[in-house]
Structures are given as C-alpha cells and as structure tokens.
C-alpha cells in the first residue's frame, strides 16, 4: 500500500501544477513560433499560411483539451486514482481559453474584425455557427468554475449547468467535422473519441439504472 500512498501524495502535491504546465505548453509552443516569425529568426516557422496554421492549431488544441476534460471521469473510474478529479475543472477552463483564443484568431487574422464579413460567415456557414454556439455555451461553465461559484450555486445546480458540456462538445466536434472539404484524419478521430466517451457515460447510466432496479 506504500506505493498507493505515494501516488496519492504525488497527486495532492504535484498533479495540479503539472497539469497547469501541460495545459500551457501548446500556448508556449505557438507563442515561440510567432516570435520566430515576427523577429525573423525563422520566417517559415509556421509554414506558408500562418493565419490558417494559427487558428487551426488553437482550434485543434481546444477540441483536444475539451475531449481530455470529458475523459477524466472515465479515467478516474477505470484507474481508481481519485486525485484526477482535482484537475478536471482547470482542464475544462483551459479548453474554454483555447476556444476563445481560437475565435480571437479567427476574428482578427481571418476576418480583420470586419463585422459584416463575420455576420456573412455566421449566417452562411453552418460550421461557424456551430462553433460560435459551442463557445457561447462554454462561457457560463468557465465563469462558474471557481470553488466560490460552486458553493454559491450549490452542487446540484452546478452539476445541472455543467451538464452542458455534453451538447457543447457535440457542437464543437460537428464544427470540426463540417469545416473540412473531405472528412478524414484528425476531425474523424475527434468524433470517434467523443462518441466513445459519450457511449461510456450512457453505458454507466444504464448500468446504474439496472442496479437500482435490482435493488
């Protein structure tokens, strides 16, 4: 049991700061590429189309961090390593931050803050609408992710509100799937992972109901 105790201690002491660092790494990596381009150290650090590169990088990171958020509970249940639950909220907040950066990059680099263009994009392009909707739904979740807000809302109301992560994850993955000319590669992998994570929850729910019925 000494090993388990050590693991628990590690979880308490190091898991939170290490998670924070891991969540910041994609941002640090992207910032370094920008510095290389802007200072001329390596003008090609982001390839030919660094606008597309930047907002695809941020979007991919956002969706992956969101999927990791959804994977924490199944992982905790499978491994029995309770400290994992301590970092779930900060991973979720990071998913929101990357999504917001993704949208800022789109508005700034792609749309040049042109609201008429933005409106056209929103109305005519379903995937933009889905992405915006996902981001809007994330906002209340991010804002209520402090200990204080959990206390104020009460656990039940908080859980109800944060159930929104399921529909918004579906919206985000749909946004990802619809934006490509041909569905392949990463968007497809994201969709399969989301489907598996949702299936796991449905299966747990059904198992719980069967157990209740038996009891």
């Amino acid at each position: 049991m000494a090993g388990n105790a050590a693991l628990r201690a590690f979880g308490r002491l190091w898991l939170k700061p290490l998670t924070l660092l891991a969540l910041a790494l994609p941002f640090i990596f992207l910032a370094w590429q920008w510095i290389q381009v802007l200072t001329g150290i390596d003008p090609r650090a982001m390839g030919t189309d660094f606008v597309a590169y930047t907002h695809h990088f941020l979007g991919d990171t956002a969706i992956r961090v969101l999927l990791i958020t959804l994977a924490i509970t199944p992982l905790r249940d499978l491994t029995g390593w309770a400290p994992l639950a301590l970092v779930r909220r900060r991973i979720g907040v990071a998913a929101f931050i990357y999504s917001a950066l993704h949208m800022i990059a789109y508005l700034w680099l792609d749309q040049n803050w042109d609201l008429a263009l933005l409106w056209e994009d929103m109305v005519l392009r379903t995937y933009i609408m889905l992405g915006m909707l996902a981001l809007v739904l994330m906002l209340p979740l991010a804002l209520t992710s402090t200990n204080g807000m959990i206390r104020r809302l009460g656990r039940k109301a908080w859980d109800r509100l944060h159930w929104l992560i399921y529909p918004l994850a579906v919206l985000a993955v749909a946004h990802n799937l619809l934006m490509v000319k041909v569905i392949y590669g990463a968007p497809l992998v994201h969709a399969v992972i989301l489907a598996a994570l949702l299936a796991w929850r449905i299966w747990k729910l059904a198992a719980g109901q069967r157990a209740t019925a038996r009891a």
Binding site: T48, D49, V51, A52, N112, L117, L124, K181, V182, Y184
Partner: protein, 331 residues
C-alpha cells in the same frame, strides 16, 4: 502551324482499330520498320514545329527543377509574386496526401520522365503522344497569373508554358466536340493518398472548348524558371486563372474531347459547393469559405488580405464567355 499526320493507310487503319496504348506500341514498330530512327522519328505524327525544335535539340522534356528558358509575355500582375518556396511547399494534390506539405514530401517518387499523353474521344488525331511532341520546349513563354484557391487563399505565380488552344487545335477536335477533359495520371506506386475516398480517380477536370479557346487558358510545364516539380503537377498541367485552382488538372496524362459535359472531380464529389464552371466569383458565397476576400500567400510578413475580384481580375478577358449565364446558379 497545322499538324500533318502521316498519311499512311496501314498506319491509319492501325490507329482506328487499336486501343490507344497498343496503337502507340505498334506505331513505334511501324515507324521503326519504315526506317525512322532517332528521337524525332519515334515521335510519330508530331507537329511540324516540334520536329524543327527537335532538330535544334530542344525537344527534350525538361526534368522537374531543371532550368527552363522562356520569353516574357504581356501577361503580368503588378502585385509581388509568391516566394518559390511557398509555391513548392504549399500544395493541394490529394493523390499524394491531404495536407499541404504531403505532396512536397511524397510526389517526388512519381517518375515523370518520357511522359506520354493519351489523346482520345472526339478527335481526328487520337493516339499516345510524347509530351515533347505536344509542347515545343523551344517556344515557351512566361505568364504571371493570379492563382485563387477556393480555400480563400491566393498566390501570384510565374508559370512557364504554352497557350492551350493551339495545342488542342493541332489535336484535331471533331466539329461536334464541345468539351475537353483532362485526366491526371493515376500512379498507384507513388500516389500514397489514393485511399482516402473523397474523390474519384483519376482526377478529372474539363473546360468548354470556348473556354479553352480563350488566350488565358494555358498549359504549364514550368514555373519560376524551372521545370514544374511533381507536387505542382509535373510535367504538364492546365492553368485557368479566372477559375478556382482545382480547375487546373495536374500531371495530365489524358486529353479527351467530348460532346457532353464530362464529370469533373470536385463537381462530382459535391455539386452544390463546386460547380462545373468554378469561376472565381466573390458574389457567390461558399458554405465553407467566404469568397469576398483572400489571403495573399508567399509575400512574407502577415498574409495580407485582398478583395477577391470577379473572374480573379480577368473579367475584361473572359466575361464575354458567360454573358447570358446566371453565374450564381451556374457556378
């Protein structure tokens, strides 16, 4: 210059009976038997001026990246050209993979030496041609064109090649031919991206012959003073600057004249998004990309935004082709 095919009954009979490939092989035998020797002899019924070029030692296919001489033409663009490295490293050529850097990595394995082009369909000159008999490498010109991708980016590219129509005309389309279809070579041994399933292979593109007759329509064999690299469509591709980039067929191995509109790759895959005409049109929006603006690539710094022009800036040269056509409906 008018193309004169050898008037030989046996040869004509062979050509009408055989499949194109066989006819090519047999033609070689025939010509060898008839005493033709050397490269020019093997070319068969080639344009007279190509024979001349061969006599000058210029009818040799220039390898990818090989130095290529061309005279300048009146076709230029005031904006700066894209850096060559961007042109060769940022490519859509799905047969070699779906990401922009896949074709530069993978396409070099395609062997493009001694390239053959099959000419078929509604033509009086079907057969398999050596590329050197279609393209006069001694009479190349450089044309700086805008290249507008449907993905909302653009590059200014200095292509090298020849105008399309004189070449097609020498291939004797029959009076009833109304379209010309270009098929990209299908080379499973080098094309690692054939399995993705989104498009039908070989890649097909087509033009109405009236469009092909427009002087802007171009057959490129080079760019930036060099033979085209494979990822850019070596050794020969079509360039139709008033249309979205995918209308340009790369690595063309078949030219087919038809009476009705041939199926084309993106139009078949998704007709509501990619029309047959695919003219650059900022007034018709696309479900994935706004077409009112474009990011100019390859000019360094921030990719500047530019307003997309009707027909990609070539309106005065091509608008007559579509004067009674609703370009929103027939996009």
């Amino acid at each position: 210059m008018e193309l004169t095919f050898r008037r030989n009954e046996a040869y004509q009979a062979l050509r009408s009976e055989m499949t194109p490939h066989e006819s090519y092989i047999r033609r070689r035998e025939f010509l060898a038997a008839a005493g033709f020797t050397g490269a020019a002899g093997l070319l068969g019924g080639l344009p007279a001026h190509a024979q001349t070029a061969s006599a000058q030692g210029a009818a040799v296919q220039i390898a990818p990246g090989g130095a290529m001489k061309a005279r300048t033409s009146a076709y230029t663009v005031a904006d700066p050209t894209a850096a060559e490295q961007d042109f060769t490293s940022y490519c859509n050529f799905y047969e070699f993979g779906m990401d922009k850097d896949d074709p530069p990595r993978n396409a070099g394995k395609m062997n493009v030496a001694n390239w053959k082009v099959t000419v078929e369909g509604e033509t009086d000159a079907p057969g398999v041609y050596d590329l050197t008999s279609l393209i006069d490498y001694a009479a190349l010109e450089e044309r700086v064109y805008r290249h507008r991708c449907v993905e909302r980016w653009s590059m200014v590219v200095p292509w090298i090649g020849v105008p399309m129509w004189p070449v097609l005309n020498r291939l004797k389309p029959k009076p009833e031919a109304r379209y010309v279809q270009f098929l990209t070579r299908l080379d499973p041994s080098s094309m690692v991206g054939l399995g993705f399933g989104g498009l039908d292979w070989p890649y097909s593109e087509a033009l109405h012959l009236n469009e092909a007759r427009n002087d802007l329509a171009f057959l490129a064999v080079g760019a930036y003073g060099k033979g085209l690299k494979q990822q850019n469509g070596a050794p020969i591709r079509t360039v139709v600057p008033w249309k979205y980039g995918y209308k340009g067929a790369k690595s063309v191995s078949t030219i087919r004249f038809t009476t009705s509109q041939p199926p084309t790759a993106w139009n078949t895959a998704n007709p509501s998004e990619y029309g047959f005409l695919s003219n650059v049109n900022p007034n018709r929006s696309h479900p994935r990309w706004s077409q009112t603006m474009e990011r100019v690539l390859g000019v360094g710094g921030f990719n500047p935004q530019r307003r997309t022009e009707m027909f990609n800036g070539y309106e005065s040269q091509v608008a007559y082709l579509y004067k009674d056509i609703d370009l929103i409906k027939f996009h």
